[in-house]
């Protein structure tokens, strides 16, 4: 099917609408979104619930029958734009909304895989996405499908036609900003962060009115910048982030301090808090900015009505390894004696897994979730890393000769875990963490240039630690820090994880397999090759009394872009760009 056959599309969309049953014309409400983790016939949020536990209450598919899972349809994103596909599909009333590389959105009949409409963002020349031209999914609200584009806009589309309803510029792409994360929609507000390379951007979290696209508040994530709320179109000051400038940054470096909020956030209705992670500080050379450099490489809890920072926790102070602190913060409860602990968990790029009190950000415990960490010898009682000074990359200003000393550090800057979301099972009480065992060499180079000028560059290479695997899917007990089971994978894992009440864990790998594991033992129960690497996140839902599983396939993302031995290991994987949807054959009902 190609765009341009307007009539045919209108008819097929109408036909789809007619066959969708009761929910057909129902708009997505705030309540639907808040209940998403409990409902099984729709997926209206990235994360299968605002807390993003990626835990489904469905049980039809179980340990005994998952081996018979069969593909029922596949849908190709088409074109010659086959790059990394990192989206999680959304399913509303028999229609799947899924985004693809180059800021595209598709609406697909969830029963047949037939395309209903597609939207291609018209991207300007000269945008500079750092890590492939990916998109991580859409949000839905009312009759709108909302997503962020590589040129840093939010676009709201009519869910039935794909026509643009509103479009807002979140940041200037010419200054190096973009958006790749799925927007978070909470109580009628679209909450988004921004991505940006090493061009002196400032991270921020912003809320927009979901129906109109009007800006409601903005909160910069670097100390010293003013936050604002907008009342009747008027900008009102709402306090400087961190109180004042210059407390944890030297000179005026806070003005270009980085801390991009590129991975989006989670929301906890229980405490009414938003949780966002922030990226590494700029410039990359940590010796030029002594101090903690708040709030870079941190987790922030924000008031969803005003954007004010309620608490913060910094995982890597004075980050010198590019350990972005953006990874997702997942709220969960656990019992300690008779007491229920309201916690959040996050697995950082820096190799440590943190459990924090979600009401005040207090550090409860932290432990390594990868086998090798060399930049820090551990965490102190407040969760602050105990640095190993000799494993901090050297100061380029003190480099003698063309190349400074090489420092080898684990994990690599792509992290013990990167963007790919983990899942939490309310059934087993375990987190299922897609992680990688790799290290990096970093050295300073004075043979570098930028825009006709000499430049001090940093050279780096990423190496696997083991010959036979990089990726490790781990089951981790947040109460003890114990690894309950692990599954090693030859290529680095770059896709998200989903788990079910029937104790199944689903994820994909760059080799192309969608895999299902026993949540308690880690035994692989099923795998199916989708023909290209999986770097997206699977979902499951119920339709016409049957349980479906969907995942996006399409190799790409940051891994193949970086050199060294890791790039060699993945250089034979083929590109793609499609959605695969599975269910059990009817005979098994």
């Amino acid at each position: 099917m190609k765009l341009g056959h307007g009539k045919y599309f209108a008819v097929s969309a109408l036909f789809a609408a007619m066959t969708l049953g009761m929910h057909a014309q129902a708009a997505v409400t705030d309540k639907d979104i808040l209940q998403d983790h409990l409902t099984t016939d729709r997926i209206v949020t990235d994360g299968m619930g605002l807390q993003k536990q990626r835990f489904s209450p469905l049980t039809k598919l179980n340990k005994d029958n998952v081996k018979d899972l069969r593909p029922v349809w596949a849908f190709s994103f088409g074109g010659e734009k086959q790059r990394g596909q990192e989206a999680q599909p959304i399913v509303v009333d028999g229609v799947m909304y899924v985004s693809a590389s180059y800021s595209r959105v598709f609406a697909v009949d969830a029963r047949t895989g037939e395309e209903l409409w597609e939207y291609n963002a018209r991207l300007p020349d000269g945008i500079m996405p750092c890590c492939d031209v990916i998109n991580r999914g859409v949000g839905v609200y009312d009759n709108l499908v909302i997503f962020g584009t590589l040129d840093a806009r939010l676009v709201a589309l009519d869910k039935d036609t794909g026509r643009v309803v509103w479009r807002k510029t979140v940041a200037d792409y010419q200054e190096g900003y973009s958006i790749t994360a799925a927007p978070l929609i909470v109580n009628g507000k679209v909450i988004t962060g921004v991505a940006g390379g090493e061009f002196g951007v400032i991270g921020k979290v912003e809320a927009y009115d979901a129906k109109t696209g009007n800006l409601l508040w903005t909160r910069p994530t670097v100390e010293g910048h003013m936050g604002y709320v907008y009342e009747d179109g008027k900008q009102v000051e709402k306090g400087i982030t961190g109180g004042e400038a210059g407390k944890t940054w030297p000179g005026d470096l806070w003005k270009t301090g980085g801390a991009a909020t590129w991975l989006g956030g989670t929301y906890d209705p229980d405490t009414n808090l938003l949780f966002f992670g922030t990226g590494n500080p700029a410039p990359w050379n940590s010796h030029l900015r002594p101090g903690d450099n708040l709030y870079s490489s941190s987790r922030l809890a924000l008031n969803p009505d005003t954007g004010e920072i309620v608490w913060s926790f910094q995982t890597t102070p004075n980050d010198g390894w590019d350990y972005d602190g953006v990874n997702e913060v997942i709220p969960f409860d656990y019992k300690e004696g008779n007491k229920t602990i309201k916690a959040v968990a996050t697995a950082d790029r820096n190799g440590f897994f943190y459990v924090l009190n979600r009401e005040d950000g207090r550090f409860i415990r932290g432990f390594p979730f990868v086998d090798k960490i060399t930049w820090a010898s551990g965490l102190d009682k407040n969760g602050r890393p105990i640095f190993v000074p000799e494993n901090r990359p050297g100061n380029p200003a003190k480099t003698d000769g063309p190349q400074g000393a090489t420092v080898t550090t684990a994990p690599s800057f792509l992290g013990g875990k990167n963007w790919m979301p983990m899942a939490y099972s309310q059934e087993t009480g375990l987190f299922y963490v897609p992680s990688n065992e790799w290290e990096m060499d970093i050295w300073n180079e004075d043979v570098a240039y930028r825009k006709g000028a000499a430049y001090l560059g940093a050279g780096f290479t990423i190496r696997p630690i083991h010959d036979d695997y990089i990726g490790v899917l781990r089951a981790i007990d947040p109460k003890t820090g114990k690894e309950v089971w692990r599954h090693n994978n030859y290529a680095p894992l770059w896709g998200g994880v989903m788990t079910t009440k029937s104790n199944l864990v689903f994820t994909g790998n760059p080799e192309g397999y969608l895999m299902a594991f026993d949540a308690k033992t880690g035994e692989m129960l099923y795998r199916f090759n989708t023909g290209s690497g999986i770097v997206g996140t699977p979902v499951t839902w119920e339709m016409d009394g049957e349980q479906y599983v969907s995942v996006v396939s399409g190799w790409g993302g940051a891994v193949p872009l970086w050199g060294g031995e890791v790039a060699q290991r993945v250089s034979n994987f083929n590109q793609g760009g499609s959605v695969f949807t599975f269910k059990l054959p009817k005979a098994y009902e």
Partner: protein, 311 residues
């Protein structure tokens, strides 16, 4: 022009010689380029005084003039290709010369990638160490990082300079004065690194970072900083644009700077060396006979010959 005619006859002869023994295939790209009627030359966008759009809306700047000269001498139309700089030169070489930009997905161009690339890229540092730099790719192998392009024809030497507000600093003999006076600098540049790290970081509190040298310069004219540091060409251009006796170029030297000066030339694809030699044959006489210097002077810039011509 005599040179032009000479070159044209040379070219015809060279082509003939190449075509005869090696067959059509190896000479084809150059042949096709000449037959196509245009040469595509890449210059940086919004980069005065080297390449920019002037007040009249016309492409202007030293590199644009050089590009025009090259096209003229080749008897071809000039197709200017404006580049947006990426994080470093290797990225720009990849995006605009040998592979094409990741966002160019229309695949309408003649290269195997289908992406638009330039025939010649200007303002490329002439540095054989960089051209043949090796990086570790694993299993004990250090592979060439930039071996798909060749750097040729150096045409200018570049260096760092400092401009200062004479009302606040009559002279700047050493950088030590910036313990007491603020200085503006473009962020993520060698001067920014140097100023924030020399004297054990003692200048750090007085270093103001800006998105461009122009903004640093304007901050000086507005009294926010007492000096601005940047590339000589950019500062000279800004001083001329501003034409106020109060702001002067300093003759400060920077002993702590990793690379005090470097040469600027062209880059072509490795397979297009023949084109590279042709451009070299056009530029070299202009360096030697002072024509290039005239172009620089027209923009109010100092012209310094590259080290290549020190003989």
């Amino acid at each position: 022009m005599g040179i032009k005619r000479l070159l044209k006859s040379c070219t015809a002869l060279t082509l003939l010689l190449v075509l005869l023994p090696w067959g059509q295939a190896s000479a084809r790209p150059f042949d096709e380029l000449m037959a196509s009627g245009f040469v595509r030359i890449a210059v940086y966008k919004d980069f005065p005084p080297y390449s920019f759009i002037n007040d009249a809306g016309e492409p202007a700047g030293v590199d644009v003039e050089i590009a025009r000269l090259i096209a003229d001498e080749m008897g071809l139309e000039l197709d200017l290709f404006w580049m947006l700089p990426d994080e470093d030169l290797s990225d720009d070489l990849r995006n605009y010369l040998w592979r094409g930009h990741v966002l160019d997905h229309e695949h309408k161009h003649e290269r195997l990638s289908g992406k638009k690339v330039a025939d010649v890229m200007l303002r490329v540092p002439y540095d054989k160490d960089f051209n043949y730099m090796r990086g570790y790719i694993g299993e004990g192998v250090y592979a060439y990082q930039n071996d798909l392009v060749v750097m040729m024809s150096p045409y200018q030497r570049e260096t760092w300079k400092l401009a200062h507000d004479t009302q606040r600093l009559e002279q700047v003999r050493t950088l030590a004065v910036f313990q007491y006076h603020p200085i503006g600098v473009e962020m993520e540049t060698v001067p920014a690194f140097m100023l924030t790290s020399v004297f054990n970081g003692n200048l750090r509190k007085n270093v103001r970072h800006f998105r461009s040298p122009e903004q640093a310069f304007l901050a000086m004219t507005e009294g926010e900083v007492a000096a601005a540091m940047g590339m000589r060409g950019e500062l000279e251009w800004l001083l001329n644009q501003h034409s106020d006796e109060r702001f002067k170029m300093g003759d400060t030297t920077f002993p702590a700077m990793g690379k005090p000066h470097w040469d600027i030339g062209i880059a072509v694809r490795e397979a297009d060396r023949q084109l590279g030699y042709l451009v070299e044959g056009i530029l070299e006489p202009l360096v030697l006979n002072g024509e290039l210097q005239e172009i620089y002077q027209r923009y109010g810039l100092t012209y310094e010959k590259p080290a290549f011509f020190d003989f």
